[in-house]
Symmetry: none
Subunit: 307 residues, 5 copies
Amino acid sequence: MAKQVKEMLSWYTGESPGILTNLARMLNHGTLAGTGKMVILPVDQGFEHGPARSFAMNPPAYNPQYHFELAVEAGCNAYAAPLGFLEAGAAEFAGEVPLILKLNNHDVLLEEKDPYQAVTGSVKDALRLGCVGVGYTIYPGSAHRLEMYQVLREIAAEAKDVGLAVIVWSYPRGSGVSKKGETAIDVTAYAAHIAAQLGAHVVKVKLPSDHIEHDAARKVYEATKVPIGTLADRVRHVVQSTFNGRRIVIFSGGAKEEDKVVFDEIRAIRDGGGFGSIIGRNSFQRPRAEALEFLATVMNIYAGKVK
Amino acid sequence: MAKQVKEMLSWYTGESPGILTNLARMLNHGTLAGTGKMVILPVDQGFEHGPARSFAMNPPAYNPQYHFELAVEAGCNAYAAPLGFLEAGAAEFAGEVPLILKLNNHDVLLEEKDPYQAVTGSVKDALRLGCVGVGYTIYPGSAHRLEMYQVLREIAAEAKDVGLAVIVWSYPRGSGVSKKGETAIDVTAYAAHIAAQLGAHVVKVKLPSDHIEHDAARKVYEATKVPIGTLADRVRHVVQSTFNGRRIVIFSGGAKEEDKVVFDEIRAIRDGGGFGSIIGRNSFQRPRAEALEFLATVMNIYAGKVK
Amino acid sequence: MAKQVKEMLSWYTGESPGILTNLARMLNHGTLAGTGKMVILPVDQGFEHGPARSFAMNPPAYNPQYHFELAVEAGCNAYAAPLGFLEAGAAEFAGEVPLILKLNNHDVLLEEKDPYQAVTGSVKDALRLGCVGVGYTIYPGSAHRLEMYQVLREIAAEAKDVGLAVIVWSYPRGSGVSKKGETAIDVTAYAAHIAAQLGAHVVKVKLPSDHIEHDAARKVYEATKVPIGTLADRVRHVVQSTFNGRRIVIFSGGAKEEDKVVFDEIRAIRDGGGFGSIIGRNSFQRPRAEALEFLATVMNIYAGKVK
Amino acid sequence: MAKQVKEMLSWYTGESPGILTNLARMLNHGTLAGTGKMVILPVDQGFEHGPARSFAMNPPAYNPQYHFELAVEAGCNAYAAPLGFLEAGAAEFAGEVPLILKLNNHDVLLEEKDPYQAVTGSVKDALRLGCVGVGYTIYPGSAHRLEMYQVLREIAAEAKDVGLAVIVWSYPRGSGVSKKGETAIDVTAYAAHIAAQLGAHVVKVKLPSDHIEHDAARKVYEATKVPIGTLADRVRHVVQSTFNGRRIVIFSGGAKEEDKVVFDEIRAIRDGGGFGSIIGRNSFQRPRAEALEFLATVMNIYAGKVK
Amino acid sequence: MAKQVKEMLSWYTGESPGILTNLARMLNHGTLAGTGKMVILPVDQGFEHGPARSFAMNPPAYNPQYHFELAVEAGCNAYAAPLGFLEAGAAEFAGEVPLILKLNNHDVLLEEKDPYQAVTGSVKDALRLGCVGVGYTIYPGSAHRLEMYQVLREIAAEAKDVGLAVIVWSYPRGSGVSKKGETAIDVTAYAAHIAAQLGAHVVKVKLPSDHIEHDAARKVYEATKVPIGTLADRVRHVVQSTFNGRRIVIFSGGAKEEDKVVFDEIRAIRDGGGFGSIIGRNSFQRPRAEALEFLATVMNIYAGKVK
């Protein structure tokens, strides 16, 4: 096995061999196998934002099988989706790409000040579908955050008990944070740290801006001169905040953007020591051929094959 | 078995043979057996709107046995009802028509801004009564929607575990949607998608209007020119939104209407690739003979025997 | 994924995606990945025959890590062993080779006329250790066989529930069969069929001789002229008896033999349509370099690279 | 065993030998082993205040392994942290320092008038990680306090059942107390008493000021002339309030302060009969060498080696 | 922590930190702390052979507290006993010596050809009493051996789940082995191997003679020239058979012997790479002062302080 992957697994010593095996399955799969970097395809957009907003710009993506094919052909390390999408393809694509069952979900049919998510799948479902792990979203900053932490803790305990990896989407949101604060560097680093403290094996956060949300934090950032000037700096700080790089932290981009912008972000993640990306809308909201080319470039940047 | 049914069952590969068997029982029963189309008779009106509002215009319909007979004689693919109605006839009509136990219900004795439903039956009841599946209503848009999703998830897991099909009534309602928005095309497609993501084998929604509720959605519908001009267009969009047609989605009509209107709707469902109808009030709120004739026409349209 | 593997997985339609995934993990791993053939390294000899009789001729094999390394370097499809041997390496070798936890074991410290085995591990252990499946031995012909079938059934049900593959060692033995009958063609075919009927995904039997144990069987073999003259004929008959080739059946050789003999057996398995071999003593009872060369030849025969 | 430790264990007669063993493991470990005094390193700051505010002033402290090393090298009696931090080092440092799993946690991403904490770990986790005890925070004064007491009671019962020690952080906070009241002598003594009444084996409170929060209490303090003039007096009163010294009560300092101030506080704790300190920020927020020297001085004061 | 202990714990990678912690507690306790060698005091003689046969030659040993004191004063790594003896002292001696609860026991009030043992304690008892591990005896060679393996497996799974170490006494006995065969080198090595395969962390066997019990084994020992001439050779072979030294295997002496004989055995264990001794009758069947001197000499031999 690649030395880099061995090294990464050593950070999880004490976890069961089953968990290590499932982490290794992701790290050793696809184009980036063995590099220690990961690109995950997540498709929960249909649930989160509605089908037309997610797929109308690339109608084949309405079909759940499309995403399995995209993840396989692009050589993604894993494909993450809610129950229905996985159930609609896990048998046909068995063994072709590591799967992550996203266990909670949210829709935008009601806007809440303090969002929450519904638990829409179970650890048992993940085993039945042959997944390598389960995904769960927390909203630090929401009035419901403490309950979300507790439910995550219970689900994570159950998942670990059967050898599944735990991937946590940590998205600050709710009445505790301003809109701008949702991606503030202090808040993002904090959100990543909380996810790791809750026992996540892999943490997913948004790319942070250079905004600092909390005054108490700003004083420290200024006094200790934490470098946050460039995106790479900020990625490095998030990695540091996630157990000094001893937990895998990956980044999502959010809405569809110009390719050049995304590629620059990938370079910053790579240069800042981030472990990879979770790229949904920028992948499946364009024609397959373009998506494959786009993802190939992303992976080449991570693999150091292009600058 | 009809090739069309085989094809439809293939969309559920990965589900247990028991589930496939129960789906096949519906698809291979009655007048539309083997066509891939379904007409289901649902009678939860008494609970939902009160008995007089439901049955006074056709008093034999107060009798639960009436609906079994109607479903059998009309050759419906299934008959769906709450616990009491099924208990009052399941023995006498055992084996004559596939049954669906509607597991949650709501009354209008208290109007809430954010409706919820009571769980009024169990998977165990469904087995005891010889049902092929269970039905559950969610209200996307209600403040209680996340809890409803969670309860559905638990019930669906239990039902699948014992080989029952899961039919989800997905009705947008509550403080998150306007009255007009309840049948908006974007909201309806979204509601169908959510039900499928929650693991529904069969999804039931209302026929959508051409209203678009959300601005964020409107932008996409316009930019990508999603055709929603005709009812058939809109049905096609809902089918697409329900896993690109890989989950059975059927439509309800709502209040009693003129027959011509209903027949046009059926044609639109058929032409738009919908899988059938669930027809309550338009069936049982008229004399039996008329109802049988009405349903025969509906089925003939679906079967392509009349235009 | 290789067409051959897809085809083989289709024989298990109706099993959960998790089971298909774990079967695919074996079929897609190592030197024979994608060929539809399997070579599994089993090391339960230490428990079954004692450590010196198993490892003294190649002392590095006393070390549990040796066998992980051998399976990885040789490119075996899987490595099967009892609890202790897997616990002593599953973390260090996480993700490097599919593991099968052998769930029951037997020693030779007491010779019984009717042998039985102790259950020495659990499905929970298999998940904890990251295994793709569990192994279980039955002794058709032993007075305890019916109890063994029942325990297998319970374990298999539990394993399938969590997506693990079930591999059954079916070894006729006990007061019901003569020594010669243990590998008789009728008995071997019967043993393979029983394992498949008990729900095994993969069946392992010994290579059959042309002896026919039972008179009632002999009459049929002669009357219907079942070809059993060559080893390939007999392999073909066993494959046929194992659901006409719709269940994977692999063969073990037994005690260490001359290489030429083994290679001829491999050719017969290949030519008779067998799916592969489980090779213990002939692998680990010789120096590592020789073992790797030996296994490479075996795999080349299966892959059709050498005649 | 040291006479002093024997004496202290005698206060817990009636508790199981497992609990006594785990208390003894703390009391007999490290620099203060056998003295009856304890210095515990707690690192839940990252969760409670965010990573940068906790570790930016001493970046090696971002690494979870740093804190294990610090606790070991400084000879602390125990190291207390949330799940993630313990999981990230418990295997590598197994047996090197007694561990306490902090079972509930809180963040500052949303400021509540009445704070609560999420349960982020379990007694089962504590056993899995080899801990000697579990920690739990209560907020006397918060509107949620009664629920917190109840959850503590359940967790404590479960912990005691498996022989783990129960350490309670008792921090008055919430709408029931003024800011100044949070460390008032009457409130602190009350908080310590409540923790002991809830079954805590070890109680942790903040050092009390000479403020008296409640009028009803003030009357008594004045009438009975409770000495609260010096910090040592106040410590003595808290010890007295915690079952007259028959439960171990230790003190936390809070934010980083000048060393001289801390050392004077340690002397006051010692002279007032307190059992030790839990020192987080003053330990890990300075370079390792300085931290070791600082902690050595603290321990020397407790051990009576320096005045 | 001593490098030797770190190295030994690395053999158990994949086991939980709790298990590693309890192994470390034994390895780091007492006179031999940190040397990688262990001397355990076992006192189940009273149950096994009756009180007078066990204690009449040193009456203070009738008192359960005597054995705690002996283990503490001698600096043994652990003290192992049945439920009653531990219950009678675990509170008073809490934290003074690691305890092992011997979970099954046997008496000689009925002599059976095929011995079995009664389960006389539980994992829950072990937690309640503050033990570091549980002990269990198997009798390879007994007609009940398979059942004993199964019960051990269940108990071991439960113990590992809560972080306790599993120590297996593997004593060949019963109708499958001759009296001489009980300590035959082939049988002893086999018994140690089986215990390790069953998941034991620590294996205890008797010192082997140079007798070879089984013809099939003799052929291999002779053909491969396994050195078994000296006791050190035989210890080396047992260590090799116990996962090539990756599981701790310790040796018991049996009946009281002349000191010189015992010391020579200790030297042979040390020189053969054995990990230590479990010494009952030779310790507690003589006056305390003599026992302490005797054990000191044993430990000095292990520590290499005397030849």
